[in-house]
């Protein structure tokens, strides 16, 4: 009988349940996507740069698991809030706590199973889509990518089964501890009043100090090493926590007495914040830290993406060389250098006709350095790019490959004369398709050397090396972002009960819909801005840690910001939309 009543309530409140189901589905989908990669051994081992980041990857999955757990806890809390009053009624009508507890458990598991099934299906779709999207975006091919693996299915189902059972038990335990009256009046309960704690000035200043300390530490990481990294992390988490819980609290207290704070709905919004901060500080701290990590991960990934072509550009004076008399060459745009060079191979010697080059270099012999894999000219040639290009060209056309001596001459010796074309364009991106075509044709010819001369070949090799890292940072960053934004959304939506009452009173006291919407937008906007602001600062200073590893650590920040902020703002908009609908709809 109780199940029948419960099913009816779920039908009546289907919109609220849909929000819950959607959120949980997103969590399952992301977890599945991650698991597909994490459990795919051939994928992880088959991509050169993946091997390097397997530990990073494992850490990522642990983090994702933790966040998912916390997130589902909030989502389920939302469920409990939705039903509390009804459970109170059941209890008053004589249902035992055990019966109600079982009912709640069943509901949790029902929502959980539905979300797991839908989530895995969506996860499969997203894995396929995102892999194509990301790989195309960063122009990298990753080998052994799979959309469905049995291991991933098992891991996902098991993980969520455990999480939902634990959450169900926890909800049940919380429910059983409350008496019937508390449940019945759940809607009418007032929040705890903010405490005016002693030493709040001290704690508030400490929050600022710790945060500043952690940023100072991040800039000094190159000298401090691992110890400095751990210290920076601890200072950052502690500082963020105190800043949100104490420093901001002090600010709301100040606003309360200021003239600015007593106009229109400012006092109301300030009151909302004052009441939320003690309850939200842990979650906001976590979100701020994860926000920083996610944005940082994408910035680094993007940074590599942006700096790889620059790095490649330094490796050679030409964009690509092609042995064939290639028609595709004519399709290249913005060509600023082109030459077809005659050459003769004699054993381990390659003779290049100097006059074909069209640039001023003296005749020379490129001989291999005995200790390192570099070729040095016998004559004085100052152009490093010319040296790199010409030696690479000779090695490329000679079957002896890395033992070849390259001779720059005005008179070719007797033998079969062949030609090779070189081309340079400043616009590698605009010519991507043609270059790719040339590159692929060359790859069929190139047997002895895996590096095709020119910056495009270097870029391809670099991307193969760093592509996995780029891809992972994008994937991790976006997954974390979605999780944390959803967590914040659910936490906010779970408080609709008390908030709705407040907004109803505002309506009666004479506020327009527009005024109330503005109040909601400001209230939620501040909530979303707190972790975002701190997260942005974290990244601003945190990227300093990469200055020894990357030539331009901030290069990827712009693109990452656009991606992350659009996603974050989308979630903010969605939260305002749902929140407003919940606020303005009549209670029954």
């Amino acid at each position: 009988m109780l199940i029948k009543i419960a099913a009816k309530t779920i039908r009546q409140q289907w919109r609220d349940y849909l929000v819950l189901l959607l959120g949980t589905t997103v969590a399952v989908a992301i977890f599945y996507m991650f698991s597909v990669m994490a459990t795919n051994d051939t994928f992880l081992k088959g991509n050169a740069s993946m091997k390097l980041i397997v530990p990073v990857f494992m850490l990522g999955e642990v983090l994702l698991g933790l966040i998912t757990f916390v997130y589902l806890n909030f989502a389920n809390n939302f469920l409990l809030k939705l039903r509390q009053q009804e459970y109170g009624l059941f209890s008053m009508l004589g249902a035992t706590k055990r019966q109600i507890g079982t009912l709640l458990m069943e509901e949790t598991l029902l929502v959980g199973s539905l979300a797991t099934i839908i989530g895995i299906l969506i996860g499969m779709g997203l894995t396929g889509l995102s892999a194509n999207f990301f790989m195309q975006l960063i122009d990298v091919k990753l080998a052994h990518w799979a959309v469905v693996t049995p291991q991933a299915l098992v891991v996902t189902v098991l993980f969520f089964l455990i999480v939902f059972v634990l959450n169900g038990l926890y909800n049940r335990w919380r429910l059983m501890r409350q008496d019937t009256l508390t449940l019945l009046t759940a809607d009418r309960q007032v929040g705890a009043t903010p405490v005016k704690a002693k030493g709040r000035w001290l704690k508030a200043s400490l929050g600022l100090l710790l945060l500043a300390g952690s940023y100072g530490m991040m800039t000094q990481l190159s000298t401090g090493g691992l110890f400095a990294l751990i210290l920076a992390l601890i200072l950052n988490v502690g500082g963020t926590y105190l800043f949100i819980g104490q420093t901001l609290n002090l600010l709301t207290a100040y606003l309360q007495t200021s003239r600015f704070g007593q106009r229109g709905l400012r006092a109301f919004v300030n009151g909302q914040l004052r009441f939320r901060l003690p309850e939200y500080k842990r979650m906001l701290t976590m979100i701020a830290v994860v926000f920083g990590m996610a944005l940082g991960a994408i910035s680094v990934g993007q940074g590599y993406y942006i700096t790889l072509p620059k790095l490649a550009a330094q490796s050679s004076g030409i964009t690509i060389a092609t042995k064939a008399d290639n028609k595709a060459l004519t399709q290249l745009k913005a060509v600023d250098y082109q030459a077809t060079v005659h050459y003769v191979n004699q054993g381990d010697k390659t003779y290049l006709l100097r006059t074909d080059l069209g640039i001023k270099v003296p005749t020379a012999v490129y001989q291999r350095n005995q200790t390192r894999l570099t070729w040095q000219p016998t004559s004085q040639i100052e152009d490093a790019n010319a040296n790199a290009t010409l030696s690479a060209l000779g090695i490329y056309v000679n079957p002896e490959a890395y033992t070849t001596n390259v001779i720059l001459t005005d008179q070719l010796p007797k033998g079969t004369v062949k030609t090779i074309s070189m081309v340079r364009t400043a616009k590698m991106d605009a010519n991507r398709n043609v270059l790719n075509q040339l590159y692929q044709q060359e790859q069929e010819h190139a047997q002895q050397v895996d590096l095709i001369p020119g910056t495009y070949g270097t870029l391809k090799t670099l991307k193969g090396l760093f592509g996995g890292l780029e891809f992972m940072s994008l994937f991790l960053g976006i997954a974390f972002m979605i999780m944390l934004a959803s967590t914040l959304m659910f936490k906010t939506l779970a408080s609709v009960g008390t908030d709705r009452q407040r907004y109803t009173i505002l309506t009666m006291l004479g506020t327009t819909r527009g005024q109330r919407l503005r109040a909601m937008m400001t209230d939620l906007g501040i909530l979303f801005s707190i972790p975002m602001g701190i997260g942005l600062l974290d990244v601003g200073f945190g990227l300093q840690m990469f200055k020894d590893l990357m030539s331009e650590p901030y290069a990827g920040l712009g693109g990452a910001l656009v991606m992350m902020l659009s996603l974050y703002i989308f979630y903010y908009g969605l939260t305002v939309f749902i929140y407003r609908r919940l606020m303005e709809q009549p209670k029954n």
Partner: protein
């Protein structure tokens, strides 16, 4: 001839259930509230008194009829005008106090003035003044959860009064209070009515609370079924009259 504060003419309210069954809750009801009047509306559950209050206080639109407050037609106002009107000309006192729990007592009282963007010094002065009138000056920096029911209701009354409205609506203002606090609350409402010259329209099912009013309308089955006027009687005598009238209805 002084203009009435509130004029309601031929109010009808029909509810249609999801099964299509129509129920007429208010049947062609008309009433007026004179300036400075303290009107109580009494009636058993289901008589339509809450619906009537919701309509008169702009929270609900009737199926038919007109309502004018201070000469203005409240049924044909935009959301913006209506909000402005509620914030300026009307005050509300609710059975369950309806204080905002996240604001201090002072902020709760001052809220209607903040919404009208009144200057802060005026806001503080008015808040202090009404707090003194209702004897809650000591609690201004406290939160609603820290007050007793009687104190919370006085905060509610102070909030209804702070912007000097033309008319205060009371929805069972003593409904959640014990008899001692109810008596005190009604004495405060009388004070507001007589000292501040603010008209009050109150819905109640409690004869004792109603005996503080200057006139009582009895409602049954969506119609006015009777009326009692105090006409300078002692409150105790008026109370007996009310009890007698109620007895006659049964």
């Amino acid at each position: 001839m002084v203009e009435p504060v509130l004029v309601a003419n031929h109010i009808r309210q029909v509810y249609t259930s999801s099964a299509g069954v129509q129920q007429e809750v208010l049947k062609d009801l008309s009433l007026q509230v004179q300036p400075g009047e303290f009107l109580a509306i009494m009636g058993p559950s289901g008589s339509g008194k809450s619906t009537l209050l919701n309509i008169l206080s702009t929270l609900m639109t009737p199926t038919a009829g007109t309502v004018k407050i201070n000469g203005r037609d409240i049924l044909n106002m935009s959301d913006r005008d209506l909000a402005h009107f509620r914030g300026n000309d009307m005050g509300f006192i609710f059975q369950n106090y309806n204080l905002i729990d996240s604001l201090t007592v002072a902020e709760n009282i001052g809220l209607p003035l903040m919404l009208q963007k009144e200057p802060v010094p005026l806001l503080q002065e008015r808040t202090q003044l009404v707090a003194e009138l209702l004897n809650i000056s000591d609690y201004l920096s406290k939160y609603p959860a820290e007050l007793s029911g009687g104190q919370q209701q006085r905060v509610g009354a102070a909030r209804a009064l702070v912007h000097e409205p033309a008319l205060i609506f009371g929805d069972e203002p003593t409904g959640a209070l014990d008899s001692e606090n109810a008596r005190e609350m009604m004495q405060y409402l009388t004070k507001i009515n007589q000292q501040e010259h603010i008209s009050i329209l109150m819905v109640t099912h409690d004869a004792f609370s109603a005996s503080f009013a200057s006139r009582i309308l009895f409602l049954s089955d969506g119609q006015v079924s009777g009326q009692l006027t105090r006409d300078g009687q002692e409150r105790d005598a008026f109370y007996q009259d009310i009890l007698q009238t109620l007895g006659n209805f049964d």
